[in-house]
Amino acid sequence: MKEFGGNALFLDRNDINTDEIIPAKYLTENTKMALQSFILEDLKLGGFDPRKDIEGKGVIITRANFGCGSSREHAVWVFEVNDINVVIAESFARIFRQNMYNCGMLAIELPKKDIETLFGLGEAVKIGVDLAGCTITAQGSKKVVIPFKLNEFDKKLVEAGGWLAYADKNY
């Protein structure tokens, strides 16, 4: 199982699509690691500089409908190879969410008010994830503990290390 948690990268926008996370021109790469430096290259977000802002981050916190658009799993891999294994959002596009769990990573949905709380903790926020207890601990300008719901099947995928391992064992 992967390790979950780390410093938060706040992406304050709805509907961030997978073309913005990893542009199609990089889909010609045949290894996941080759994607590493192209993370969020086309993200349309004022003041955001992927080269500087990604440094040392382990968790993304964002708004609604994250990962919409293309089915490219490259959008998950580019986070994985940058040691970002958790995305916390108000909601996700279906394929992106499934791709996260299929890779044994966490796509955590929280109600809008909890997302607001996280955005209100200042710029330097450290996130801890307790998978067994289904809680997030956020340490910023103050410390908050937020419970989350995890679909039982998604949890099994995370514990198995992804869908391929789970499917190979069960089907």
Binding site: D19, E73, K156
Partner: protein, 427 residues
Amino acid sequence: MGKTIAEKIFAAHLRDTPTPENVILDIDVVMCHEITTPIAITDLEARGMDRVFDTTKIKAVIDHVTPAKDSKTATQGKIIRDWARRHKIADFFDIGANGVCHALFPEKGFIRPGYTVIMGDSHTCTHGAFGAFAAGVGTTDLEVGILKGVCSFRTPETMRITISGGLQDGVSAKDVILFIIKELTVNGATDKVMEFVGPVVESMSMEARMTLCNMAIEAGATCGICLPDRVTAKYLWPFIKDQYESIDVAVQDFAQWHSDPDAEYVKEMTLDVSKLVPQVTFGYKPDEVKSVTEMDGTPVDQVYIGSCTNGRIEDLRSAARILKGKKIAANVRGILSPATPKVYAQALEEGLIAIFMEAGFCVTNPTCGACLGMSNGVLAEGEICASTTNRNFNGRMGKGGIVHLMSPLTAAATAVQGHITDPRNLL
């Protein structure tokens, strides 16, 4: 309680129910292209699991960048080509026989009512036009599909969209779906199936139904779906004629998949399209849609007609209706990519290619290329493209480029005038 078409298809393909919210389905068709499949192939090889669950249920094509534009895309082609040969996958389509997957595979008769279909491509929802459950998936889902023939989904919820009235001349399925996405927003149908019904859908050709279902993903839907009927049976007849005594019998059999009258929907939307005008996107999201009259006069640098949304024969015919005997504006580059070799050949035979060429269009081989900024028509920084494709995301057709989505009719009118133009003025 009655079932929707999606629920009936799920029930007929149920392999496992790991939780009440999740199901594992048997998959009838696993489709593969050279962008999302190679990493699945190399991963299976690395794990010592280079197997396929059923060679007859796997369909593969090189379509996104073809012919290869550089060494990396040549390698992607080689990986899927070698794999298809190694596993004796008969339905593999390479140069000379290849075309845009969501236009090519239906044309080959691979999609049937009641089927489950997955592909590592978000526009797989197109195939719901045949009354199939068809969903785009990531590479890991594709990998498991190739290996085991199964895929996991959440129990489906369906939204019913009833379309009535009659479309004005100059207004098409593309305008209908752009308007629906505007109403629903880009996540209005997330985790849902969009079931398209009503007299307008019933009178649509399979090509138009595919355009409608193709963009269901742009509202976040898992699948767009139409009820299979006589139009479906006639389209599929060359492939099913040995299976059914007559088209009537096929139509009757297809009706088993129709949603029950007492099926439950999570949302109902009704739409009278009698007064609908051509629609065009602005901004960077497919739900940012205005009427063509509001967008009229917007300058463009390039007009692109093609893709899995609008690269089929009817699309070429409708654009040619406008272009016939006209020249495109001097400030515009026109690119036509017929979606498949069959569409290309038919367009040649009908004289459509000549119309495009005389108007000043460049005609490329069938490929996805420009739609996602990969090849064959990438935009430069600041350039604007009027496009019959499906996404206007930032950078989609080239870094710093801007895309306006529209129908083939509106794109053709725009090419002639050199700026966004209402096609009804040129008919």
